[in-house]
Point group: C2
């Protein structure tokens, strides 16, 4: 199973394009050449908007633009905003799923992993990732 869902991956692609523009960009332009169904990307952008990560404007010449600097957006932010919180096991978000939570040694180990995974995801910023792209950008193949 993949931990990162398609929607999150698509969100990163769109945010990358937004980072390279300073005006509002429409969803159809954002989806262009990114192998993302535009109509699906719209839904994803809505979530980023509700989370305040981007700003939207309706009507002609509308679209989305970044509301937060790429350096201040972490991979964890995108994951949690788009696909929801990431947990090692269900018992971390749904206490009633298991009555062992109090004295479960498995859970203790998983909690450690959970903290570490989140920390690693939070270490990666979009600013960093985008700056690492191959020099000859724009119409990359």
């Amino acid at each position: 199973m993949a931990i990162i869902k398609r929607e999150t991956d698509y969100a990163v692609r769109a945010l990358r394009k937004l980072a390279g523009a300073d005006d509002f960009v429409s969803v159809s332009v954002l989806a262009e050449g990114e192998d993302v169904p535009a109509i699906f990307l719209r839904k994803i952008m809505q979530r980023l908007n509700r989370a305040g990560m981007v700003q939207s404007r309706q009507g002609p010449f509308g679209g989305y633009r970044l509301n937060v600097a790429p350096e201040d957006i972490t991979l964890l932010d995108v994951v949690e905003t788009v696909q929801g919180p990431l947990v090692m096991n269900e018992c971390f978000v749904e206490p009633e799923v298991c009555r062992r939570t109090e004295f479960c040694p498995v859970r203790v180990r998983l909690a450690e992993l959970q903290v570490e995974l989140n920390a690693r995801l939070a270490e990666v910023t979009l600013g960093e990732v985008f700056s690492a792209e191959p020099a000859g950008e724009g119409a990359a193949r």
Copy 2:
């Protein structure tokens, strides 16, 4: 989303019980008091069996027994056997899902996280986890 699925969690519970027995234990006994649907656990045990982690015997007085010492079973083993391989993103297992794999900086970061997550999961052995259980065991509560 939970990274560890119910089936994997159930597998660990069953393996814990097997670790405390030295004869074959039937699925119905394994499921007893573990809040696991016995008939579902059976399917899970089949996977552990095919992977060689446990040994099965049919007929009366049959069931399952460990085929590998708990110290030699890692959490990663159980996860991969029961719910399949764990990857950060689909492009790690399905190359045709994306044509950017060659020059994608996101993928590079995810690959690092992937290695680390797997390493951490592989560090945790069932032997270690089970030995950490509260002293008064057996009829816990």
